[in-house]
């Protein structure tokens, strides 16, 4: 494997995790968090985030033990050659379908708000193709691109957060903790998937310069995500009230639309979010596609990961068209996260961790 130059620093790991998680989910976040616990949705976001940090810790423990084997390699060591590959196949489908889902939601949203007459395929295909081009180049160019866009994204997030703070009534968040533990537990199950994407850590471990620092970097990334999520949720509840926020298809977009800059010298500020959001989605898809190619390479025992991207390109496009209407598609999305998603980001890391306690450490760098 030609990976002598393919090493990323721990800061880059943080950026990778941050930008992979930040994707289409942020638009529907306030509504999806309110499903079980209504106005306590922001507390749920914190709880789910902390749980994710726990999962990241487990992933890093496993990764530190087998730093050079990669995900499929580790699975093979832990469960034997045959079962290792079997266990890795759902992950392949998970990355494929997750990338498709992001692509489709991107297309639907752009068509609704921006380009109503442009055919859907001309919105989705260029995005996938451009993502494939970047993902083909390998991990280092990917994270370098992520690094380059980070300041823009952070700056725009701050601007949007400030804009959205007009006309808000923070008493809408009261009463705090009005729901029992059971509904919080139910909520965390689905809230966890707002953070889906950090599982790329499983993939990138062989490329990390200092594997023992990976946990700190990704923990900080998730803490930053919790902050962003809580701000988005709190602001949209404060602006709309929980009930109205739940009734929107894309509450975050509606929140920015409903914010007017005092003085009204500029209207329709949501253009900024829409433009920025393309970056969110692009970075997520790139990193999911990259993970997909690495898993596929290891499963099929091929040498070059990038060849698989060209093979999977049509599948990504075709699977992204599953679901006739947007409501249908959302249902399939839920199905994906509660089955393959639960397996990849929750069940598998825990099983791997438990089994790895009984195995000898893998090859060191």
């Amino acid at each position: 494997m030609m990976n002598s130059n393919d090493k990323i620093s721990s800061y880059q790991v943080g950026v990778l995790v941050y930008l992979t998680v930040l994707g289409v989910g942020i638009l529907t976040l306030p509504a999806s968090m309110a499903k079980e616990v209504e106005n306590d949705g922001w507390i749920l976001a914190i709880l789910a985030g902390l749980l994710c940090i726990g999962l990241v810790y487990i992933m890093c423990k496993v990764g530190e033990k087998f730093p050079q084997n990669g995900l499929v390699g580790t699975l093979k060591i832990l469960f034997g050659k045959f079962f290792g590959v079997i266990l890795a196949i759902p992950i392949l489908f998970y990355f494929l379908l997750f990338a498709s889902l992001e692509t489709r939601i991107f297309g639907e949203t752009v068509k609704l708000f921006l380009l109503s007459r442009t055919p859907l395929e001309f919105i989705m295909l260029p995005l996938v193709i451009v993502a494939v081009i970047l993902a083909r180049l390998g991990i280092e160019p990917v994270v370098r691109f992520f690094e380059a866009v980070t300041p823009t994204i952070l700056f725009a997030l701050v601007v949007l957060a400030v804009i959205a703070i007009t006309n808000t009534d923070f008493s809408n968040l009261k009463p705090f903790f009005s729901h029992d533990i059971l509904s919080f537990a139910m909520g965390v199950k689905s809230a966890l998937f707002a953070y889906a994407g950090f599982e790329v850590l499983l993939i990138v471990f062989p490329f990390i310069k200092e594997p023992n620092k990976a946990f700190k970097a990704s923990r900080n990334a998730i803490l930053l995500l919790i902050l962003v999520y809580v701000v988005v949720i709190v602001e949209s509840y404060a602006k709309f009230g929980v009930k109205l926020a739940q009734s929107f298809m894309y509450p975050t977009m509606s929140m920015i639309k409903a914010s007017d800059v005092p003085g009204a010298f500029i209207e329709r500020i949501e253009g900024l979010l829409e433009a920025l959001w393309v970056l969110f989605v692009y970075t997520s898809i790139v990193s999911l596609l990259y993970s997909l190619s690495v898993v596929a390479k290891d499963i099929f025992g091929h040498i070059e990961a990038k060849h698989f991207l060209a093979i999977f390109l049509p599948f990504i496009y075709l699977t992204s068209l599953i679901g006739d209407s947007i409501i249908d598609m959302m249902k399939y999305g839920d199905l994906l996260t509660t089955t393959l998603g639960l397996y990849t980001i929750f069940a598998l890391p825990i099983i791997m961790y438990i089994v790895s306690r009984f195995k000898k450490a893998g090859a060191k760098q």
Binding site: F113, R117, F122, S171, K174, K243, L244, K257, A258, E267
Partner: protein, 383 residues
């Protein structure tokens, strides 16, 4: 060779671009105001599936759009807008009818007002259809001012504003002015849908047309998605205060035979909710801050005891105003539009849970203890 190929590729990309959604700004008709009235009381039955051509639809509504006329606005012409109207079954139907007559595409992203006639609010079905449309349309601005018109919409769009050439900016200006003086409770589309989503109650300001001006006239209360009652404007100040929406404005008192104007600059509300043996009890503490604008000319300077006397009258009169308004809502309206349910739910959740199934009944029976204190902080540029 490679370089050459790359250059060809880059240049060819310039010719391979396309755009489906290009609409030039001069091809758009910027709809500023949407005005809806019911002209025919038609109930369409849901029944068998038919081809259902456009002419099969009922013509229930009269829809008028006021469209900004940029040329006239820039050139300082007489009229900054044009009106187009259609008799239609719904707003999309009206857009269709207007669209085939107009040489531009109606564009709603910069709409500012939505005016509904009284009949629209009285007809639950029409109102619900209308609200769903404006809620669903992704272009429509959530900051649209919603209001009810007591009168005919044709008369409203005929108004030639005096200081403005565009009707919509005129209506907005009146609203802003009146809002600062608490003579109106304006409501944005977003707040209206929030209220309708949270409970079944909402309120909408009422305007009427008087010669060449619009006039503000109280608020319309909405219950179960239709017009429930209208509230006289004399209750507006206390209504806004109880909803903690009071912006400011004047309150007059009779002081030694002079109508002294007290300008409210700040106000505070403290509300305690108790469960008093199965009955709701509210303890309201109100505070006003402001200055006086007029008195009667005298060579003597105003003294502390004069101010104390004025404050006393103010406090007492505001207290009575609050009590009367509360009583009006308890007895005449019979439903809690004062934001008390929301307040109790947020701050006294335990009490709320006891009464939440039958809140309006509990509100009618509730006991109120009101205290008011007005402070005169400034007296103008004369002693």
């Amino acid at each position: 060779m490679k370089k050459f190929l790359a250059i060809i590729l880059i240049i060819s990309s310039l010719f391979l671009t396309g755009c489906w959604d290009k609409i030039e700004i001069d091809e758009r008709a910027f709809v500023g105001g949407i005005y809806v009235d019911i002209i025919e009381d038609g109930k369409s039955k849901n029944g068998e599936i038919k081809p259902f051509y456009e002419q099969d639809m009922k013509n229930r509504l009269k829809v008028i759009f006021t469209i900004a006329n940029p040329k006239a606005i820039a050139g300082g012409g007489e009229e900054g807008f044009v009106t187009v109207e259609a008799i239609a079954d719904s707003i999309p139907d009206a857009i269709r009818k207007i669209g085939v007559r107009l040489n531009r595409t109606p564009f709603f992203a910069h709409s500012k007002v939505l005016v509904m006639s009284e009949n629209v609010l009285k007809d639950e079905k029409v109102f619900k259809e209308l609200i769903d449309y404006v809620d669903r349309e992704p272009d429509l601005n959530a900051q649209v001012n919603v209001m009810m018109l007591d009168g005919r919409i044709e008369e409203l769009v005929k108004i030639k504003p005096k200081l403005d050439i565009y009707l919509v900016t005129y209506i907005q200006g009146v609203f802003n002015n009146a809002q600062n003086l608490s003579y109106i409770v304006p409501i944005k589309l977003m707040q209206l849908t929030a209220q309708l989503n949270a409970g079944q109650k909402a309120h909408i300001p009422i305007i009427t047309v008087k010669e060449d001006e619009i006039e503000i006239k109280g608020i319309a209360l909405i219950k179960d998605n239709k017009l429930y009652k209208t509230v006289d404007e004399k209750y507006l100040r206390a209504f806004q205060f109880l909803n903690s929406q009071l912006k400011g404005g004047r309150k007059f008192i009779n002081y030694n035979g002079t109508s002294v104007s007290y300008f409210i600059q700040d106000n505070y509300r403290d509300l305690y909710v108790k469960d008093d043996n199965g009955k709701l009890k509210f303890i309201l503490k109100a505070e006003l801050e402001g200055y006086i604008e007029n008195n009667i000319f005298s060579k003597e300077a105003l003294e502390k005891k004069d101010l104390d006397k004025m404050e006393e009258i103010l406090s007492e009169s505001f207290k009575l105003e609050l009590m009367e308004t509360i009583k009006y809502f308890q007895e005449n309206v019979g439903a809690d539009y004062l934001g008390l349910e929301d307040y109790t739910r947020k701050n006294y959740n335990k009490v709320y849970k006891k009464f939440k199934d039958n809140w309006d009944e509990a509100f009618k029976e509730a006991e109120f203890e009101v205290e008011a204190q007005a402070f005169i902080r400034r007296i103008g540029s004369k002693k």
